[in-house]
Amino acid sequence: MAEVWEASKMIELTIDGKKVTAKEGDTILKVARENNIYIPALCYLEGVSSFGGCRVCLVEIKGSPRVFASCVTPVAEGMEIITNSERLKRYRKWAVELLLSERPHVCSVCVANGSCELQQLATDLGVDHLRVEREWTNYELDLTHERFAYDPNRCILCTRCIRICDEIEGVHTIDLMLRGKNSKVIFDLNDKWGFAESCTSCGKCSAVCPVGALYVKGKPHSESKRKELASFVTSRRSEKTIG
């Protein structure tokens, strides 16, 4: 343990003009949150590996014309980070709008209405309408599991469930099939959930689903959801990833 602490150098940088100290190797998002600077994020889940797919947590770094996903970009000495420019707001809005238009997200008939992270982001970012045509996909609802349900029509492919199933529960029942716009979250060999042999029915996937795609049957969604993992899980994970 002591070695680990010695190995992590402390560095200084600024986020939105505020000077902060951070551990070298930490991500921008982690440092920002530690310093109570809010960067919206969607596919990010503390305690499992970062995915970098939703592009909601984008930030600018002075000196670069590019934008960076803060959940996967490590901090560096003297970095000047901007988390809330007009450009970033524009991009985040597009990301959320595109997700809302990708599948039929009809909040009023969704189990997650009121506790949905995508809905909350849309509200925060002022997504009051969609500029692009909506897709009305018609994936079959999977109600075969005795405790859980899966509605692919609400899935935003954030892969939180896949990562937690693999990295925390350690079974890797869930993965993606196909690719691009046809990607779909599957259990085992694209089996119905109730028949997926490797599933331990632990429920972690439904607990971290940011939307109403995976949920516990017969229980208010707001009660079965967790945005963060238990601290003993997250602290162990972060130690592991330091080296």
Partner: protein, 169 residues
């Protein structure tokens, strides 16, 4: 000796299975050899059905969902049995510019098959591919392995008709 899991997975203990398992041994059951193993399996069996995928996932000790995810990510792997005859139309840039779409439409219309699909009687599959690299001879169509360069709908249809006729005899 075929792996005991094979029978469990419903695979016949034949020569194909022997060759597949030999290939897996050659790769020392390494997880990173999954793509190579899938290539071999498809060469041997023509397509990757469920039993085959289960068997591979067991031998390589990979989660089934991982194997399925990989097999469906790459276009080349087929999870459904293709038709007896296969027509592939190149839809690379050069071919598209020179009218490959017309070739596809012609085959679709005449044989009542959609691109990527197989006729109801399982006789003919129509695939489109992204560039076979014979751009100078665009547009190209491949009928049962034979490339037709500077193809026209008439030539391609004639070729397919001939093959289907020969089949009947």
């Amino acid at each position: 000796m075929p792996d005991a899991g094979a029978q469990q997975a419903g695979l016949k203990a034949d020569r194909r299975l022997m060759l597949l398992e030999a290939a897996i041994r050659k790769y020392q059951y390494r997880k990173d050899a999954l793509l190579e193993v899938l290539h071999t399996a498809q060469e041997l069996y023509g397509y990757l059905d469920r039993d085959l995928l289960i068997h591979i996932s067991k031998l390589l000790r990979l989660p089934p969902s991982h194997v399925y995810g990989v097999a469906t990510f790459y276009n080349l792997f087929k999870l459904k049995k293709p038709g007896t005859h296969v027509v592939t139309v190149c839809m690379g840039t050069a071919c598209y510019v020179k009218g490959a779409e017309d070739l596809v439409l012609a085959v679709e219309r005449e044989f009542n098959v959609k691109r990527g699909g197989t006729t109801a009687d399982g006789k003919l599959s129509l695939f489109v591919t992204r560039c076979i690299g014979a751009c100078a001879m665009a547009p190209n169509a491949i009928v049962d392995g034979e490339t037709i360069g500077k193809a026209t709908p008439e030539v391609v249809l004639k070729k397919i008709r001939a093959i289907m006729e020969a089949e009947k005899d």
